[in-house]
Each structure stands twice: as C-alpha cells, then as structure tokens.
C-alpha cells in the first residue's frame, strides 16, 4: 500500500517537473525568441501595422473602423458620415460587458443563422440604407447591384476591407459629398483595389482606411 502511494507520488512529481521544464521551453523561451526576431525583422508588422495620416497614427491598416457622425442627443446608434467610404456592418460587436475596466477593441460575429428572422431584418435594413445613402441625383442604386458584403457583418467585426463592387457603388456619393469628379474618385478606388494574391488566393478587396486617407489627401489638394 505504502509502496503504491509513493509510486503515485513519484509519478505525479515526474509529471509536474516535465510540465515545468516544458513550460520554460514553450511558454517562456519560445515566445520571447519569436518576439525578439519579429521585433527585429518586422517591427512595423509585429506592432500592428499602424498607419499614419498627416503625421498622426490613425489606426491599423488591418483593423476596420467606423466612419460615423457624432451621436446626436437621444440617439443610440450614430449615423454614418457619408463624406467617407463606409465599411461593412458590424452588428456582432456588442458592448464591453465582460470587462468594464477597459474599452478594448472587441471582436466577434453576430452568429445569427441563415434562417434567422433577426438577420433577415438586419440585411434588409442594411440594403435599404445602402440604396438610400448611395443614390444621388443622376445615379440610382438598384437592389440587385448591392453586393453581399455591404449588408452582412464580418466574422471579426473588424473587417478592414470591402469588395471592389461595394467601393464602386459608393463612388457617386463620395464625389457629390466632397465636390470631386466621379472619374477622380473612380481612379482612387481603382488604385486601392487589391486583386487576389498571386491571382487566385482570397477575393479582390479595397482597404477602407487606406482609401479614406487617400480621399482626405485628394480633398485637401483641391
């Protein structure tokens, strides 16, 4: 009996020592070495691919932002600032209820199902808004022209990109609101459209933050 107790103790002791040694290797040395190499070779990327405008950091080229007007009195959800290109809806991002100490950047999806009535309502409302916001005198958006990414929330809720179709759909509105010519804005979108990597990976996309920074510069030049 004594023997089996001491054997068991020895076994757990070995397990604990193995865990501690492997924690040192994989939980301390490994992340520190990777961080060292990453910081030395890819400093900018390892720290979040920060992007500047007028010398100030305005976010990450990888993280989507919202381009809204300030909240009016009594308003719960802000209106979009139609001067700027709009990204995808982010209905999956709730309030920070878990940890009230911080206002951390939250990530998450709606997780609503394909047959969900709530999701159907969200999609239909988003579609109506896209049509209304982007139809300007002389240019009417048809329902069939609205691409899927314009009316659905992404997986992360932080999608930095929109499809080229959604960017093009916003061109007339952007031109009208900023007093630019349609062709100048069209060129801007074209310059910021990234095709599939190596021609076949992923989908073509337009980075909204980079596009808006370029738009800001263009407006400033005029």
């Amino acid at each position: 009996m004594n023997n089996s107790v001491s054997n068991t103790a020895r076994l757990f002791g070995a397990g604990l020592r193995a865990l501690l040694v492997l924690t040192l290797v994989t939980g301390v040395i490994y992340p520190l070495v990777v961080t060292g190499v990453a910081q030395a070779l890819f400093n900018d990327k390892a720290n979040g691919s920060e992007i500047r405008s007028d010398g100030k950091v305005v976010g990450s080229s990888l993280i989507g932002q919202s381009y809204n007007l300030p909240l009016k009195k009594g308003q719960k959800t802000p209106d979009p600032d139609l001067k700027w290109f709009q990204g995808r809806p982010a209905n999956g991002l709730g309030t920070n209820s878990v940890n009230t100490q911080y206002k951390l950047l939250l990530s998450g999806a709606t997780n609503l199902s394909a047959d969900s009535k709530d999701l159907l309502k969200q999609v239909e409302a988003a579609k109506a808004a896209v049509i209304k916001d982007n139809s300007v005198p002389g240019y009417t958006v048809k329902a069939s022209e609205v691409p899927a990414d314009a009316v659905t929330s992404s997986g992360s809720g932080l999608d930095p990109d929109i499809s080229p179709a959604y960017a093009e759909l916003q061109v007339h509105r952007i031109a009208a609101k900023n007093g630019l010519s349609v062709s100048a804005v069209e060129k801007l979108v074209k310059d910021h459209t990234e095709g599939r990597t190596l021609g076949f990976m992923g989908e073509p996309r337009v980075n909204v933050l980079e596009l808006n920074i370029a738009l800001k510069d263009l407006v400033a030049k005029q």
Binding site: A14, L19, T26, V33, A38, A46, D81, V151
Partner: protein
C-alpha cells in the same frame, strides 16, 4: 476568374503543398520516434524530470504517464487562471471564476480549446503564453505519443513494450512542434500577425478619438494553435481577427499548418509498420472524406440557401472579405475534420447544410485527417472495425497488419467508437430536457438545437469550435462541456493503449491468399463506407432535428 474557380485553385494549391510536405515530414517524424539517440538538451530535461528515457513501458505504465502528466497540467492551468488577479503580467485582468477556469483548463489540456471566455478581455500575458500556449504544444505532443504507441503495437510482436512516454512527449515537443511553430510564427508576423508585449494601449483613429488595443504574443500562439490542431484563439474572433490571420495567404497557410501533421502521420505509420502502402491506404481514406466534404461545403456555401443569405445575395455573414466564400469553406471543413476548432468565419451563420457538414465532420470522430495523433489512432480503430466487418462477411478471423483481431481487440475498438456518441447524445438530450440550459441558445428552432448539438459534438470530440451564438459561459455548460472534453479525450486513450498492448503481445500471423489486402483501394472504399455508415446511423436522428431540418426548409 470567378470565385468558384478561385476556390478550386486554392484547394489544389493546398493539396500540392501538403503532398510536398508528406514524405519528408512523415519520414522525419518516424525517425524522431524510432531514433535511439538523445539530444543533449533532452538529456538535461530527462534529468530534470527524473525519468529514464530508454526504459520501455507496458501499456498500463504508458497510460499512467499520460494521465499523470495531463492531471498535473489541468491543475496547473486551473491555478494559473485562479491566481491571475495577483500574478504580474496580467494586464490588470481579474482571476477567472472557478467554473470557467475548470472548463478552460480541461479544454486546453485535452487539445480541445473550447473557449467560453473572450480572449482579449479575460486573459493576460502570463496565462496566455505560459499557460494556454504551453498546452497547445504539450497536448498535441501527448496526442502524437499515444498514436505512436498504437503504431508500435502493430509493429512489434511478442512484447508488451510500447516505448517511453516521457521520451515521446519531449521529442514530439522539441523536435517537431517547437521548430515548426517557430518558423510558422515568423511567416505569420511577416504577413502582419502581431507579436509584442505592448499590453493595453491607445491608438488613434481616423475620425478622432482612439481605440484600445490589447497587444500580445499572438503570432507565436497562432502558429502552434494551428500546427498542433488546437484552435484556441488569442482573440474572441479567433482566426477571423486580422491580427491573427491578416491575409488570404496566411489563411491558406494556416489551413496547411493544421492539416500537415495529421496527414503526414500516415506516412510515419507506414514507415514504422514497414509498409509504406498501408500508410497510403489510410491517407487515401482521409483524403477522400476531406475532399468530398470540401466540395459539398463549397457547393452549399456558394449556393447560399437560407432566407437571410438569399436576401444578402451571398453567404458573407460571418465571413471576411479578404478570404471570401471559397477559402472560408476550406477552412471550416479542415478545422472540423481535424480536432482544431479554429475558425476564420463563423459556422453558425453558414447555410443550414454547411453548418451540418461542420457538425458531421466532428461527429465522424475527427479522423479525416483528425487531430495531431488522435486522427491517426481514431482512423486505425476504424480500420480495425472495417477489417472485422470484412471478416464477418467472408467468415474468416480478421487480421490487420499481421495481427489477429480477436474478441479482446474488437471489444476495445467497439468501446472506443461508442464513447463519444454516448457523450454527445446524452449530454445534448439532457441540455434540451432541462428547463434552464436552453436559455443559452441565441437562435430559435432547429438552429437553436444545432447550437447545443454542435457544442457537445465539439467538446466530446475535442474540436473546440462552436456555433458561437450559444452562451456557453454558464455553470451548466462550463461543467458539462468540461466533463465531455475530459471523458472524450482520456477514455478513448485508455482503449487505444490497451489495444496497443494487446497487439504488441501477439505473434505475427503470416499473410495468406485469404488475407484481406488492406493496402488496396478496395479496403479504402470499405473503410470510407464503414466510417460513414457507422457515424451516419449513430447521429442521423439528431442531425435530422437540427441542420437537416434547417437546410431542407430553405
């Protein structure tokens, strides 16, 4: 080029990359577990552990090593979370509550990585890197060790010896997982994944004001999360988060990482049992199911059935623009056919049938190609069952790889395949029958049921992905999924190691004209059929109530 063709080309590129890695990695892993030389650093580690790496173990001794190491791991990870509030490097986050700490500890030790917490809001540097990431390595190494022990059972005869657990654990970690993950982490950083210890800090925004970022060792954890088929994200959005998975290339690269060890282990198996062709037969079985599932998934996602997706004009809900539907479909199938559970898009918002494919993928037992190690041993158990079925048909004593499949062997294999379905179906039924657990469901109707079925399929099969609308951070779900993960991981291992011991003791039977040729395509066909029929019959009623009902209604 259309998105369908692009999706197909991405699949081809992935298959090409996996094929290139197959022989070198498979052979290398066979050498790792067969070599009698120890690295110097390994000798120091064995001295630290106080274990003799050359001492052969019988199956009970090997199992005791697995269980002792895992038990200590659960306790350590539990305490780390409970003490987070007073540990340095915690970014001011509180200690995690007991139920959630238990659930998370079990989840990471069992290679499941089910997460009922929000990573960026709950865990500081120390718990993430020295707790969770460590289990990403060692739980994967434990899985491979058990698989290798089973392979040794087939390869050896007239001995009870299956190798040394400590040596297998340390070698798997040091020689395979650490170097692979380190290279992968640097590749990910080069593409934009973050890797720093900046903690919580403010970053300016375009429209003024600022965002609060939680910077951490993300790339290093992301790499082993995929390479060890773990799946626990640094951030809540997992691999959909641009800081974890920044580009279309990293998306394919991460799919490659999570598939490469499970597929290549069939080569390791072939080398170790002395017949490469046997490895190819197992590989062909895994690949057939994987490719078939990917094709089905692409078909249903591109067709985007379901009222909301039809209204949107595409299955983009829960998917990122940079990946698109094609690449997201490949990821979803690969993560649920392995024990990974990482997600680059949210399965709950897939089409009804697409969601069903992810659930069925897990319910197959994650064997095509399955988790690191667990995929191979799960598939070999199915091979034993298939050989037995064939034996019944022709009235011969079944044999596999020169070993008789007698009543003891078939009992162990049968116990193995009964455990997870029992856990999934009983726990799901209990959750639906009790008054409060259904309150956790986000969606109603068939999809709500699918959320619960998904949760227990994921937990008991050690996958870790979710129909994430379900609020799993309740005492009921934290406790029950925790139990499902523990039993779903370690009970099967008991039967696998017992089977390995029993096979290793046998003397080999010479092959005769009547022996079923298990390296031939006929056997691959039989095996695919056995897997689909056994799983299909077990889960069909449950699937009919959930994803099939939803899919057929739309």
């Amino acid at each position: 080029m259309g998105p369908v063709l692009a999706g197909f080309l991405q699949l081809l590129a992935l298959i090409g990359a996996l094929a290139l890695a197959y022989i070198p990695l498979g052979n290398y892993m066979a050498r790792v577990y067969s070599s009698d030389k120890h690295w110097r650093v390994e000798k120091w580690i064995y001295k630290g552990i106080g274990a003799n790496p050359d001492a052969e173990m019988t199956w009970p001794a090997y199992l005791r090593g697995v269980l002792a190491f895992s038990a200590v791991s659960v306790l350590f990870l539990y305490l780390l979370q409970r003490l987070q509030g007073i540990l340095p490097g915690s970014l001011g986050f509180d200690s995690v509550n007991p139920a959630q700490s238990f659930n998370t500890a079990v989840s990471f030790v069992t290679n499941t990585n089910w997460q009922s917490y929000y990573g960026e809001q709950t865990m500081g540097h120390v718990v993430q890197t020295a707790g969770l990431a460590v289990q990403n390595f060692v739980s994967a190494a434990v899985g491979i060790a058990v698989a290798v022990a089973l392979v040794r059972g087939f390869a050896r005869s007239r001995t009870g010896e299956l190798g040394n657990f400590w040596s297998d654990l340390v070698r798997g970690t040091l020689r395979i997982l650490v170097p692979g993950a380190a290279i992968a982490a640097i590749v990910l950083v080069a593409c934009g994944a973050i890797q720093n210890f900046s903690g919580i800090h403010e970053v300016g925004q375009f429209m003024g004001g600022s965002q609060q970022w939680n910077g951490g060792a993300v790339a290093s954890q992301e790499a082993i999360k995929e390479f060890g088929t773990n799946g626990g994200g640094y951030f809540n959005a997992n691999s959909a988060h641009p800081f974890e998975n920044p580009t279309p290339f990293t998306n394919l690269f991460e799919i490659f990482l999570l598939l490469v060890i499970p597929f290549s282990l069939t080569r390791t198996f072939g080398v170790m049992v002395g017949s490469i062709k046997q490895g190819y037969a197992i590989l062909a079985t895994m690949a057939t199911i994987w490719v078939g599932f990917v094709a089905l998934m692409m078909w249903t996602e591109f067709a985007h059935h379901g009222p909301a997706l039809q209204a949107a004009g595409g299955a983009y809900e829960g998917k990122e623009v940079r990946f698109g539907v094609g690449s997201s479909s490949i990821f979803a199938v690969s993560t649920t056919l392995t024990s990974t559970g990482a997600v680059d898009s949210f399965h709950s918002s897939f089409t009804g049938l697409g969601g069903g494919i992810t659930i069925l993928g897990m319910q197959l037992g994650e064997i095509a190609p399955g988790g690191t190690g667990s995929g191979l041993y799960g598939m070999l158990i199915m091979a034993v069952i298939a050989v037995f079925i064939a034996g019944l048909m022709v009235g011969r004593t079944p044999e596999y790889l020169g070993k008789k499949i007698g009543s003891r062997e078939i009992k162990l294999a049968a116990c193995y395949i009964l455990i997870t379905p029992a856990l999934v179906l009983i726990f799901t039924a209990a959750s639906m029958a009790l008054p409060t657990p259904p309150h956790s469901m986000l969606n109603s109707g068939a999809h709500g049921f699918s959320e619960v079925l998904y949760a227990f399929s994921s937990a008991a099969n050690n996958n870790g992905s979710a129909f994430a609308g379900l609020n799993a951070n309740t005492d009921w779900f934290n406790t029950m999924t925790g139990l499902a993960m523990l039993l779903g991981r370690f009970l099967p291992m008991v039967f696998v190691l017992a089977l390995a011991g029993s096979l290793a003791e046998q003397k080999p039977v010479p092959a005769t004209a009547g022996t079923l040729r298990t390296e031939k395509p006929l056997f691959t066909g039989l095996l695919v059929g056995a897997i689909l029929i056994i799983t299909g019959l077990t889960y069909f009623p449950a699937l009919a109530l959930g994803p099939l009902a939803e899919g057929l209604a739309s």
